[in-house]
């Protein structure tokens, strides 16, 4: 455990520049992952209810006309 922590300390935290960029990149990555995951969950809970689930019906029928 201490080996892992020490490794993290030496690679990420020791240099301020690396630490700061790790925080920024980490924030963006977490945000992206959380949003993608939670939106996917939301869309699966509401499958078939939202406009994007039904719009193909009306888009296609227009192409046929």
């Amino acid at each position: 455990m201490s080996g892992v922590l020490g490794g993290i300390y030496n690679t990420v935290i020791r240099s301020n520049g690396v630490f700061l960029s790790a925080i920024f990149v980490g924030a963006f990555a977490t945000n992206l992952a959380f949003d993608t995951g939670s939106n996917a969950l939301w869309d699966s809970i509401n499958r078939g209810r939202q406009w994007k689930d039904i719009k193909h019906r009306y888009m296609e029928s227009e192409d046929e006309e």
């Binding site: 939670s38 509401n46 939202q50 406009w51 009306y58």
Partner: protein, 325 residues
């Protein structure tokens, strides 16, 4: 050690005996004052009866709930229906919104305005851009004054608001026996019971008013409407509209669709609000758990410390055990 504890029991026993005798003497003295105790009982019972009586009187006079209106004037309480779109994690059913808008347009729009909804709001929620544009263009709107100050007519655009059936409220009243059909944009928020009330209202017209009900001429009987006499007649009948998606257009189906549509027009932000809401709850609970952990971490030194108190020993009063040492 043994001898000392034996002594203590004897002393305790003795004190119990003395208190017993004391009690006995006191009892004897009260019994001799029998007349006074009868008076005490009577006074106590009388004041208790008075207290209960005055409380009852006060509640009877001021405590009961009062109703300014008769039940008929309040209107029948709407049934609570299990609306799918009112659940915490559910969006509107946009196919239902599309059907509901069709019902609004073909039935309600001849009397009710929907002033707060522009055509563009329909795009991406229940219509494609082209459909909404085509609908908007069917209506004429005033232009800005031209160089001569004349106001001309132009076809509608997506940014225009859905036109009202009457020029103004007075025209609306004049056409409906003096009753103004209210604007429907915010109607689910504007009525107690929201969706349940409007659904009950639309489907709640009996074949004929019950015996004994007084219905003024020009009004229709509806038990859900406060006062039971409503200027709007029953408007929804089975098969009144023809849904393009093949859903059978029963009265209750149309009422359900139009109510969901009216709920959307009152809260078009609901889908997004719920989606954001549960994300906030998710992140918030992680942050809360972390703050609990940090608090426990920071307090752990304080919570686990022990205080030890060694009383100073007064030189004169050494206790026997110490003196023996």
């Amino acid at each position: 050690m043994l001898a000392r504890s034996g002594l203590r029991t004897a002393r305790a026993f003795g004190s119990a005996r003395t208190s017993a005798t004391r009690n006995a003497t006191r009892n004897a003295s009260t019994q001799s004052e029998g007349a006074a105790s009868w008076k005490n009982t009577a006074t106590l019972s009388a004041s208790t009866a008075l207290a209960i009586g005055s409380c009852t009187f006060y509640y009877f006079q001021f405590g009961r709930s009062v109703h300014a209106m008769t039940p008929a004037e309040e209107g029948l309480h709407a049934t609570a229906y299990p609306w799918e779109h009112e659940k915490f994690f559910k969006t509107f059913d946009h196919a239902a919104l599309r059907r509901g808008f069709q019902v609004y347009r073909e039935v309600c729009a001849s009397c009710h305005s929907l002033q707060r909804i522009p055509w563009r709001a329909l795009v991406g929620t229940m219509m494609t851009v082209d459909e909404a544009k085509a609908l908007a263009e069917e209506n004429e709107y005033d232009t800005e004054p031209n160089d001569e100050g004349e106001i001309e007519k132009r076809p509608g655009k997506l940014s225009d608001y859905i036109p009202s059936p009457y020029k103004n409220d007075e025209a609306g009243r004049a056409a409906n026996n003096g009753a103004l059909p209210p604007d429907l944009s915010l109607i689910t928020k504007a009525r107690h019971g929201g969706c349940n009330y409007i659904f009950s209202l639309l489907t709640g017209y009996p074949e004929e008013p019950p015996a004994g009900a007084v219905v003024q001429s020009g009004l229709n009987f509806n038990p859900y409407f406060p006062g039971t006499g409503i200027a709007m007649a029953r408007v929804l009948y089975d098969g009144l509209v023809e849904y393009e998606d093949g859903t059978p257009a029963t009265t209750s189906q149309m009422a359900k669709d139009v109510v969901e549509f009216l709920n959307w027009s009152a809260e078009p932000e609901m889908d997004e609000r719920k989606r954001m809401g549960w994300k906030v709850m998710a992140i918030g609970s992680v942050l809360f758990a972390m703050s609990v952990w940090v608090k426990r971490y920071k307090w752990s030194t304080i919570k686990t410390r022990h205080l030890q108190y060694n009383p100073p020993v007064a030189p004169g009063k050494m206790n026997p055990r110490q003196s023996r040492r």
